[in-house]
Amino acid sequence: MSEALAVHDPALEAHAHHHPIYDYDSGPPVERGKFAIWLFLATEVMFFSGLIGAYIVLRSASSSWPDPQERLAVDITALNTFILITSSWLMVKALLASRKGDRGGILRWLGATIVGGSIFVGIQVYEYVQLVKEGALPKVDIFWSTFYVMTGFHGSHVVVGVIWLICVWFGALRGRYTARNNLGVELAGLYWHFVDLVWVLLFTIVYLF
């Protein structure tokens, strides 16, 4: 079987006839994993654009809208925004450590990123609990409906991101990532930065507008 394949291998035949051999790859000139994550992130951009678009239309179509700063705790959420931005910076440090093959560095920086993400989720859950205690449920009015949908979907993305980072952390613990093989860290980092980017926009639109 292998002999039959070898006989019909175009590369071998080209070599036999003194033709040049091309190292041809039909894929795009980028790692497949990176291509896939960017394609996924493009769909995520459109997903969140749909949510934000619906919010803008509903708000514009309403003859009045409550002041978000009177209903929401902007100070605590501003602190939460700092925490998420800090975790994004920590993720950059984890990726740089992985490029140097520094396993201890990956574990430290990635661990700190996971802690930052977990604190963000914890503060958001605390905010939800306080609001529910005050009777601010999604059914009360369209302000709360849009608030819970947008922040809830983002929060679920943060939870997925934290789980992903924990998986990468355990991979690093087992020595999976080296200076030449760190795509797993980079892909998780791209997702994490995207979650941070979306929050920057949501914080502005939901809490400050």
Binding site: D141, L208, F209
Partner: protein, 148 residues
């Protein structure tokens, strides 16, 4: 792009982080000042959008390395802002005309027989920690119940 090529294109993550930190402080300050001093809406929203866009750009370009990526990655993500504009372009005419706007706040309770507002949305829920700001034009309308 190989990792060696990637590493040759350095940026200072601490510097980007510092900018993000400062812009967030500036944005929150702008938002609070705008509400307290009753800035007009274009000034308040324009400033907030400016800071948010700047921060998003820094994260995408540096933290996500978009600046250092090749044409394949850029061609995947760069069309999305134009697609967003298409979505907004199609839906905004529905609410841009004041005649077609809803004449009551979305979420207000209406009398099913007369169609009159029984309870305004903003009266339906009040935070126990409610501290009213000086109102912008939109919220003056909300408080007075006067439609756009």
């Amino acid at each position: 792009m190989s990792h060696d090529e990637h590493d040759s294109k350095h940026f200072n993550p601490e510097k980007v982080f510092l900018y993000l930190f400062l812009f967030t402080i500036a944005e929150v300050g702008w938002g609070i000042a705008g509400k307290n001093f009753a800035w007009n809406r274009p000034m308040l929203w324009g400033g907030l959008l400016f800071f948010a866009t700047l921060k998003g750009w820094l994260i995408a370009v540096y933290f996500m390395h978009l600046k250092f990526e090749g044409w394949v990655v850029k061609s995947l993500i760069l069309p999305t802002p134009f697609l967003i504009l298409v979505i907004f372009g199609y839906v905004m005419p529905d609410v841009a005309d004041k005649e077609t706007r809803l004449v009551h706040p979305v979420g207000s309770m209406l009398d099913p027989e007369t169609g009159k507002i029984i309870e305004h949305m903003h009266d339906g829920w009040q935070s126990p920690h409610h501290k009213p700001h000086k109102s912008t034009s939109e919220h003056v309308e909300a408080e007075s119940g006067v439609p756009h």
